[in-house]
């Protein structure tokens, strides 16, 4: 029978030293870009996301963030940070994005989690522009805050138990009248926690 990891293994010293503290549940996955593991081992820059690198500012946690360089084109009008995961059961996600750009350069973030059954879970941040000159916090419970699609079929998130995810897809989009096509534009992702 499965046991929660916080219980000491059978036969080992008892004790719950290290019980979780604080209100936040322990993440099942997290990454704040602190390790020497190369970005391209788990992320892919697609379409108008042309480069990314780890920087120390701005940062909310961990001392690092991911600087993403976009050159939005009139053709694609979107850049995607495609993030590969070791398949893991996730019920929620939280992250922060810093947008140093002026309000006229409106950028919208659409976040999708893809599970191992080919379903896409789109967070309800659709069509909301990123805050300018500041951080946009995204915190979502997948059952409450995601719409699920498999191909063209819409599904109910609450009917799906134990979904296991293998990709995060952060899609940054601009409108047809975006005033800065083909110019470099930076955004910062502080890190990702999945619970």
């Amino acid at each position: 029978m499965p046991i929660n990891r916080r219980t000491a293994l059978q036969g080992m010293a008892c004790g719950t030293a290290g019980a979780a503290l604080g209100a936040s549940p322990v993440p099942v996955y997290f990454n704040f870009f602190d390790s020497p593991v190369r970005l391209d081992r788990y992320t892919r820059n697609m379409h108008d996301l042309v480069a990314s690198r780890v920087v120390t500012e701005p940062s909310l946690q961990g001392g690092h963030s991911l600087e993403m360089e976009f050159r939005f084109s009139e053709k694609d009008r979107s850049g995607i940070l495609f993030w590969d995961l070791v398949p893991v059961h996730i019920s929620g996600i939280r992250f922060n994005v810093f947008n140093p750009n002026p309000a006229r350069d409106e950028i919208v973030l659409k976040t999708t989690l893809q599970d191992t059954q080919g379903r896409s879970w789109l967070l309800a941040t659709d069509n909301q522009p990123l805050a300018t000159n500041g951080w946009t916090k995204v915190e979502a419970n997948l059952v409450k805050d995601a719409t699920v699609q498999q191909g063209t079929t819409k599904l109910e998130a609450r009917d799906i138990a134990g979904a296991v995810f293998e990709h995060l897809v952060f899609k940054f989009e601009v409108g047809r009248k975006f005033p800065a096509f083909d110019k470099p534009l930076l955004l910062y992702l502080d890190g990702v926690e999945c619970v």
């Binding site: 029978m1 499965p2 046991i3 929660n4 990891r5 916080r6 219980t7 000491a8 293994l9 059978q10 036969g11 080992m12 010293a13 008892c14 004790g15 719950t16 030293a17 290290g18 979780a20 503290l21 604080g22 322990v26 993440p27 099942v28 996955y29 997290f30 990454n31 704040f32 602190d34 390790s35 020497p36 593991v37 190369r38 391209d40 081992r41 788990y42 892919r44 820059n45 697609m46 379409h47 042309v50 946690q61 961990g62 001392g63 995607i80 495609f82 590969d84 995961l85 070791v86 398949p87 893991v88 059961h89 996730i90 191992t116 134990g162 296991v164 890190g191």
Partner: protein
Amino acid sequence: MTKSKFWIWWAGMVLFAPLSVVAMQTGETFTLKPEPLGGEEMVWYLIDWGDGIIMPTSHGIATFSPALSKVWRKPGMYKVVPYAITMSGTVKPLTETSVPVGGSQLDFPPFVEARQSDDPPASQEPYRPQSIELHFAKIEGLDALLLKKDPKVPFPDSFSIETSTDGGTVWNDVPSASYSHFPNPGSQVVWIPLHGVVANAVRVVSYKPPAIKAGTYSLRLGTLRAIGREPLFEMDADPKTAADWNNMWLAYGSAKNEVFHYFIPYPWPTDRPDEGGLLMIGSTIWAHWNAMKISWLDEPAASKYYENVVNSYPQDERGLMGVSPGSFLHLDHSKHYVTPAIFVAGTADWYLMHRDGSFLETKDRKTGVSLLEKMRKAMRYQLDDMDGKTGVLTIHDPEHDGTVNGMSGNYWDGWRFGYQSAYANMLFYQSLDWMAQLETALGNSDKAAEYAAVRPLVKQRFNEVFWNEKTGRFVGCIGKDGTLQDYGFTFVNLEAIASGIATPEHAEKTLQWLDGERIVKGDTSTGADIYYWKISPRANTLAAEAVTPSFWDGWTMKVGPGTIGEYGKQIQNGGHIFYVSYYDLMSRLKTRGIADAMKRMGVILDEFHKDNLRRKTSNKFGSTHVEGILREFPESGLVPLFFVNGILGIEPGSDGLHIEPALPDGWKFAAVNEYWFAGKKYRIRIERERTEPVVDGAQIRLPAEGRWVLSPDGEIRHAN
């Protein structure tokens, strides 16, 4: 308990122990394969060996499980309990096993002397990394890292092991040693296998240290110790070079510290984000590279797999080999007419390394044909059906006519190699030598003579037919319509030179082109840009899309500006595949000498030092087939093998193991500490100041000058 009572107790335990568990002795290797957990999440396993030691594995697909080895050092009855832990942190105990162990007590391996860093200061930030380091006075091979929990504070539930070969300036992860949701080990020792990684510093790092009280996070350990192991390669080079070279072999050669989603290092690649080194792929295409990598190692399971798989390649009635067990077609697309040559090279190499006649007598399970018969038939097919005996091997299949309408037909499956292919001819040339060596070893001098007699003609014709005087390099192929397909294929030119088929003049001219000493007008990439990727040259220096119609076979993707196959964004079109550097190094050794080869190797080692070459660049379409180093490229392990094949100069021949060292300037010695040949383990050491060879049991010490032969019986002599 008295001794006699112990033995009565032990006998009782053995008698009543589960029938599936054989009583062990101390020092013997016990193997456990826990039952897979199942489910969609990936899992990792943790084994409590019952002796105070627990050992974690890396993670993989939950419908598979790893085979784990254990050596007990004290007699006793051990309750072995495996646990499966999902990536989201659920822990499930699996079936227990009781193992009786007899024998005398053995010493625990000594710890490596190290200076431990101070404990990191506690932090108020949950995601501020903290680490505890061990620094060694010199580079050390590390067999394992042993951690014990600090009794007063929580054990980290999330941590990784990282190593450094420069004292802590650059750290690289050990992919298989990264854990999440690690259970509380209590008083047990956590034994983390490191398989001989070479470093002068190692650290336990937690990117989310445990909370020791509200809002305060701290990484603490009770003890942190390392158990050592002799490095495989020894060289008179600076420590960082020696360490990095060893680790390049560990990553891409033996692939011991990689993550394998199927829990074995073959034959299926591991997927993102865990792509790394791989031991081998079972297809015929890899048959020789597999033999080069594995034949000298002590890897019984991998060796058995290799011997089984080479016996399962189909062969048609004429002698053409299929690409994989059960299929003549590569990815349901095309035949590969190079398979006879690769099959012969691989199986001959394997035999000459092991000298086990029963290998050649094993029968194909479907046809009953012996391996040796298959090899001979494959050679006949090349000589007769493919006209190899005329000096130019020709592919007569109209689907592979080497024109812009033909299909691709070799490893480089983006290109339409066919008809008279330089790639196929240089492989044929190599297979002639391998088969001649094999037949000589078997005492069949007539057969050997036939193959040996053709070689000079093949070499002569290769240099006449495939050399492009205008560009000063070998073309890729000549189509049936007579068109020379010359896209500056670096992989053709370099393997040709390394194989010995190129004349010295052609070899030198080719290197001049690659080194930018000579510019080929019209090429897309010239001069220093040819080595844009640093660790190997671009696959081709003329873009596939530069010529219309193109010689590129668009069956998987199109090429051209803005496409997924755009030049510079695809491994076979302006990208690179790392294994080519092995042939680059061997070419330079052969043509210009060891100094030139070491200059190239220096660049590769510098790059390796940065990130262990764990590079998986993607293009804008998300395709990560830009650099061919990780995942389905076990042949990346050929590059560090240059130490063995180039510098130590070891290669099997008909009469034994040929050793022709090429010690780099300034090196006094170079050695491989475990090399298996003809069923025996050797340490082979080259010493510049030695004038005569010395054989002392398994230890062979040779002068740096000269050519030597180690017979299968273990005798060393000068080569003729």
